[in-house]
Subunit: 209 residues, 2 copies
Amino acid sequence: MLLYDNRHAPSPRRVRIFLKEKGIDVPTVPVDILAGGNLTPDFMQVSPRGLLPVLCLDNGMIIDETVAICRYFEEIKPEPSLFGLTPLDKALVESWSRRAEFDGMGGVADVFRNSVPLMANRGVPGRTGDPQIPQLVDRGRITVARFYQMLDDRLAHSRYLAGDQFSVADITALCTIDFSAFAGMPIPDEDTNVRRWHKDVSQRPGAYA
Amino acid sequence: MLLYDNRHAPSPRRVRIFLKEKGIDVPTVPVDILAGGNLTPDFMQVSPRGLLPVLCLDNGMIIDETVAICRYFEEIKPEPSLFGLTPLDKALVESWSRRAEFDGMGGVADVFRNSVPLMANRGVPGRTGDPQIPQLVDRGRITVARFYQMLDDRLAHSRYLAGDQFSVADITALCTIDFSAFAGMPIPDEDTNVRRWHKDVSQRPGAYA
């Protein structure tokens, strides 16, 4: 088993944290996204979508979607559960993880990919030739502001995103927020619930895996 | 239990097909997205994100993410399995469903929301005030073309997206493709594998639920 990884991008980090929480070790191969290492013919032969992370299984199959990789490990090593145990908990974990992806990471990615000079002509992950679209930066900023508000409302009443138990939804949100701060949109001062939660989850042993 | 539904949008349709495959009946409440029914204060009180579908549970909780709703039903009624049974099957189903969402539906939505006059000022689901961005139409068209190619390559070697068994990934892809055709991007003539698969899955009893 082999994990194609990158130390700066948020999605590979989600898998690294997940593995650390599970106590699973997987050998990694670093790929330099900023230098276009994910777009080379060699890498595309491993993973035609040009995305990271990618898990290569011993039978030669690849899994190239972050949540699918995490779910694979949840299935082969159920404890500690990070996707929930009851039907309702599973639905809540999935729901909050997807909110963090669509409402959070989607907005941050719009801002980052369409404003940073290094991402010129790389407006869409896994391919080149897509010019940046400046209007997406404004759109993304609104999305991120709404995301912080939603999180703060939720965390006013809940220790973790999906309830009392730390889950993959918290990993998704943590990686989203740290990437958002990197892109110039840190947690707003007034979002004290998000700050409390962020401090808590950032102190977990795997948070900076 | 109550499902807020819409007969034209692709995400509510995903849940209706899923329920039909499972043999589960849930009462529905129609919401008119084109008329902005999902953006009224009344609906926002039910579901603050303003998205469809939304499942209201008997305990008052809501689940407002398509896949989370489907997974809830998978958990309370496991047969027939639509998310896979083994760890590898589960990872493949999740991976292909997410490919259909990100690589397929994401592109179709970019084209549709940013070109159709009825969606003016509604560039982002669940909110108003986001002007259409014409460049996203070009970007979306490239995304959809690549998606069809990826599907055709896969379906040259596999009956269904995740393998021999029909799964939620096929539901996601079917709704993506029919929505793509509605948005003026039908299956390309040369993609004979996608055509064969589309004919097959369209004939299932729940396909036009």
